[in-house]
Structure formats: structure tokens, C-alpha cells
């Protein structure tokens, strides 16, 4: 035991040296780090003196002046900024430029900061934004990191309901100093939704069920989901009234609920409904028999979520179901 320890310690000296070197490197870097963050803060404070405090899902964030360069890490934030007439400087677009063009309604000039799931912090920091808007679920683990880059507000997007989404819209408007515009825009939004509702004139006895269809699952969106709630505002009764926003179901369960209208947001590729379509149970669904099954765009219906997109969903409904006079 003693013998090997002797030779071992000589030969292990190299390793220990290496560790010592690394620790030394770490030591000098952390002091450097402190100096850096001071620098960053110092730069921010030289701007105008008007500071506002925004309360959001993860606390309070102070924002100085009016942010010009905004980074949006979820699609609904892009929609909100768009509704306020602001073009985001950086978007977590999952590298799908065409999806953003569809959301904003035109090609815009922005920098992709990677995926929504793992936005690239290096790119975000190199953009030197004035404001970052992050999702409460996806980005809570990097909130501190984002806060070091720029003032960050965290809002519900992915798990938000329609009402929460409108709340987030107001918070974003506050953060970018456009409360007045937001008020007008929201009033306009309510009017548009009311008008669409009047045109659709849904029968109160008719039930509707939006669902996301994947290769192995059929996920119904209930009255508490974003699109379910929006449809209720448009006058449609959801076939599943419950607190949980989503419900996984199989064909038998679907038959039991038997909605009058089915809205299917299909995934790319193979779908579980491909198989169901050959099943007599499927053919007996009211919606199928009456030709009330509609394929809808998954981006618009379940991913975008925002003031503009909600109006687009309303328009989409009018297009599919037609005006009811």
C-alpha cells in the first residue's frame, strides 16, 4: 500500500499540477467576471433616468428608457410586438424563417437566436438587446443568464390561456412603453372578435373540438386550452368542458364525446387518424357524417398565440364554416 502510494504520488503529480493550473485559471476568471458585470451595468445606467418596474412571472425587472432592440424567445411575444408595431431584433425561430414570415405577415429583418427550447445565449448577448422576453416554462432555468445580458421579463406563453395571453400582451406593452397603443389595439381586437362572432353566429347546441394529431396521439384541446377558450369567445361550445387544458384520447373516447365540429391541427408525417379513418367508428362520428371535419394550420392554431393570431383564427373559422345568416 505504501509502496504504490509513493510511486503513485510521483506519477500523479502531473495530474495534480494540471488541476492546480485549472483552479488558478478559474480563480482569475471569476474576478474578471465580476469586473465585467460591473462594466455592463455601468453602460446601462448612463441612459436616460426614467426607469419603470415591470412585474412578471419571475419577479420584478427594472427597465430604463424605451427598449428598441427586443429579443423574443417565444412566438406569441413576436405576435404581441407585431401588434404594437415593433419588429423584434432577435427571435427564437427554430430556424424557420418562413414560419415567422407567416406570423408577422411579411418578411422581416431579424437575427435567429436558435430554438425556442435552447435559445443561443451567445447570439442573444452579441445582439446587445435592451429587452428580452422569455417563456415562464421553457426559459426559467436560464432566467438569471438572460438577466445578465439585458432586462428580461418572463411571461406565460406556452402554457397560457387566451386571457393570460392578453395579459402578457399588456405587460409587453408596458415594457416597451406603448400602453396607449395597446389600449387602442385591444379595443380593436375585442371589436374584431365580436364581429367575427356575430358573423359566425354559432348554434349554442353545437359542440366543437380542436385537437392536435400526431403519429401516436390524438390530443383534444378542452375549454381551458388557448384555442378552446378563444373558440368559446367566438361563441362555440367546446365538447370537453374541464379545467385541464389538454386531454389525450383514443377513438372510443372520441366517439363517446362525438363533437359536431372537429378541427384537426395535424403534425407532419404519419398520423394516428390515418388509421382511424378506416374504422367504422370514425365514419359514424357526427362531424364526419356531416362533413364538419376541418384540417387547420398547426402553427396558427396552437403555436402562434397572440392578438393578431387570434383574429387570424377567427378569420380562418369564417373561411371554413362560412357566414351564418
Amino acid at each position: 500500500m505504501l509502496k504504490w502510494m509513493k510511486t503513485g504520488s510521483v506519477k500523479g503529480a502531473g495530474l495534480l499540477l494540471a488541476i492546480a493550473f485549472l483552479l488558478a485559471l478559474g480563480g482569475c476568471s471569476s474576478t474578471q467576471k465580476a469586473a465585467d458585470s460591473e462594466n455592463v451595468q455601468g453602460a446601462g445606467q448612463t441612459e436616460s433616468g426614467n426607469t419603470k418596474t415591470i412585474t412578471h412571472e419571475m419577479g420584478e425587472t427594472e427597465i430604463e428608457g424605451t427598449p428598441k432592440k427586443v429579443v423574443a424567445l417565444e412566438l406569441s411575444f413576436v405576435d404581441s410586438l407585431n401588434a404594437l408595431g415593433i419588429e423584434a431584433a432577435g427571435i427564437a425561430d427554430d430556424e424557420k424563417k418562413e414560419m415567422i414570415a407567416k406570423l408577422v405577415g411579411k418578411e422581416t429583418d431579424y437575427t435567429s437566436v436558435g430554438t425556442r427550447e435552447q435559445p443561443n445565449l451567445e447570439v442573444i448577448s452579441s445582439l446587445q438587446p435592451d429587452l428580452i422576453i422569455a417563456d415562464a416554462e421553457r426559459h426559467k432555468n436560464v432566467y438569471e443568464d438572460l438577466q445578465k445580458i439585458a432586462p428580461t421579463i418572463v411571461l406565460k406563453s406556452r402554457e397560457s390561456t387566451y386571457q393570460e395571453n392578453l395579459g402578457a400582451f399588456n405587460t409587453i406593452a408596458q415594457a416597451v412603453g406603448k400602453e396607449e397603443e395597446a389600449k387602442t389595439r385591444l379595443a380593436e381586437h375585442e371589436k374584431t372578435i365580436e364581429e367575427t362572432k356575430a358573423k359566425l353566429k354559432a348554434d349554442p347546441n353545437v359542440t366543437i373540438l380542436p385537437a392536435v394529431v400526431r403519429d401516436t396521439s390524438f390530443q383534444a384541446h378542452t375549454s381551458s386550452s388557448y384555442d378552446g377558450e378563444l373558440l368559446e369567445h367566438l361563441g362555440f361550445k367546446n365538447a370537453i368542458q374541464q379545467e385541464e387544458p389538454y386531454a389525450e384520447m383514443n377513438l372510443e373516447q372520441l366517439v363517446e364525446i362525438d363533437p359536431d365540429i372537429l378541427l384537426l391541427a395535424n403534425n407532419d408525417g404519419k398520423l394516428i387518424t390515418d388509421e382511424w379513418k378506416n374504422n367504422p367508428l370514425w365514419k359514424n362520428l357526427k362531424a364526419v357524417k356531416n362533413g364538419q371535419v376541418y384540417d387547420v394550420d398547426r402553427d396558427l392554431w396552437t403555436r402562434f398565440r397572440g392578438v393578431v393570431s387570434a383574429e387570424a383564427i377567427g378569420a380562418n373559422m369564417l373561411e371554413m364554416l362560412g357566414e351564418n345568416k
Binding site: 504504490w4 465585467d36 451567445e122 447570439v123 415562464a136 389538454y246
Partner: protein, 337 residues
Amino acid sequence: MRITEQTTLNKKRRPLVLLFILTLLLLLLSAVSLGVGAVYISPLDIITDLMGTGASSHAFIIQEYRLPRLYIAMIAGAGLATAGAVLQGILRNPLASPDVIGVTKGAGLAAVIVIVLFPDSPVFWLPVSAFLGAAAAAAALMLFAHKNGVKPATLALIGIALGAIFQAGIEYFMIKFPDDVNSTLLWLAGSLWGRGWEQVWMLLPSVPFAIALWLLSAKLDILNLGDDLAIGLGQKTKQLRYVLLTLSVIIIGMCVAAIGSIGFIGLIAPHVARKLTGSRHKFLLPVSALIGALFLLAADSLGRGLFPPIEIPAGIVTAVIGAPYFLYLLRREGKKA
């Protein structure tokens, strides 16, 4: 499946030289890694940033992201590789790894439960639950193996069984909650994205445990001779296995808590190390550690640099490189036998 001393002793290289070369390689790769990513940083900028003179515009990226990730990759890579080498020694099975004894799966199940069922939980719940999951898996493993005197084969079999149970649990949650599959898979694959100094401090306490394992390497050598001989030489094999297992699990738990249940490092690094230096643990462990650090650092740099701004999780890169390399190793070993 016993690791035979003969074949490996013949081609033993000078361990000191080997350690020196590997350290040099690691430093070289570190320098490259600091430059690689969505934003390219030139070597000159890196040096001035590290010295703290004339902070360039990239100083923030280096200090906040690349440097901590460099350290995390080194410590976690080295930790997982060391623990893997020790597990292969305890189980006297070259296929042993943190995955095989069910520990990473236990951590995975705990993490998945937090991600899926408690999405609003505070940030620190995830690493804590992962560590506790790993600890619980290890406790179950030792409890079930205790009756049979903690024999290597028993440990391996029970570990695999526990792993299968945890895996079933993970899959249940993934099927039940398809919306969270992305974030779950991401964590399960293991990634250094979004990790910073906090995780470096979280990982540092694992270093003394790795050194403790290294100090026990003579005992590991004796265990490798087989239980009969080891007992004959006065070793309390059961107790020794408990100590070694506990130390390894603590290291694995910390690594997994920090970066997710990253695979293949604990399996491959010790293999490569054994090829290079033979199976005497006092050399095998440090060489494994260096190779593990190199492996994870290379994986993270590649994942960051291949398709910016999209990052490929380091765990996926280790699997993509690791799996074919492992097959190749097995084939070569089979040929020699």
C-alpha cells in the same frame, strides 16, 4: 468477462508520458473550445480576454458562457469517466457504466417527474431531485444486493432490473405528457446549454470524491483478482464495494444533476484508457478522467459549432460518436480473443 492482466500488461506504456500528452491535448482542445460557437472568437481575443487586458467585445461571451462550460465539461467528463472506471472494476465487467447500474435512470425518472408534474417548481428542484433520484437508485441497488454479499454479477443484474423499472417510469410520463417530451428528452440526453458558474460550483465538490477513489486504486486492483483471492489477501470485499459504490454514485449524482443524464462517457473513456495504460487503477483512473474530460469537451464544442445558432446537446454528440466507437472496440476485442 474478467479483465485479464496479461494482455494489458504487455502493452503498458509509460503512464507519466501518457498523462502529460493527454493534459497537453486537453489544454489545446480547451483553447479551441473557447473560440468555437455561434460567435467566432479569434485566439488573440481569447488570450487578451483571459488575461483581462483590453476587454474585447467578446469578453462577456467567454466569461459567462464558454469558460464555465469548459470547466463543466472537464469536471463532469472526468468525474463520469472515473466513476465508470471504478464501476467496471467493482463489477469486474467492462460493460458496466453509470447507466447499467440504474443510477442515471433513477436520476432521470426523478428529473422527468419534476419537469412534467411540477413545471412551476423553483429552478433548483431539478438538480436536487436528480441527485436524490440517483441516490435512491443506489440505495435500492445496495439494499437488494446486500443479501448475496454484493457480488459483482448480482450488482449488475439488479442494476439492470432497476434501470428497466425507472426507464418504464420515464416512458410512462413521456407518453402521458407528449407536450413535455421535448424538454424531457433534452434533459435526458444531457446538455451543457444554459449551464454557467453555478454548475461549476455545484460540480467542484465531486473532485475530492474522485481523488478519494484514486487513493483506493490499489484496493480496486485487488478486487479485480476475484473475491476468493481478495478475501485471501485480507480484503473485506463487501464493505469495500459499498465504499467504492457510494463514492462513485456521489460523483455520478453530482454530474447528472448539473448536466443531465449524459451517456457513453462513463462507458467509453475507461475502455480507451485501459487500452492505453492497462488495468492498474492508479494509472487507469487518471487516464480515464483525462479522456472523459476530452470526450465531453469535444462533444460540447462540436454541438455548439456545427450548426449555429442551433446547439446540438452534448449528450447526443457523445451518443453519435460513442455508439459506433464502442462497437468498433468490441469488435477489435473479439478479434484478439
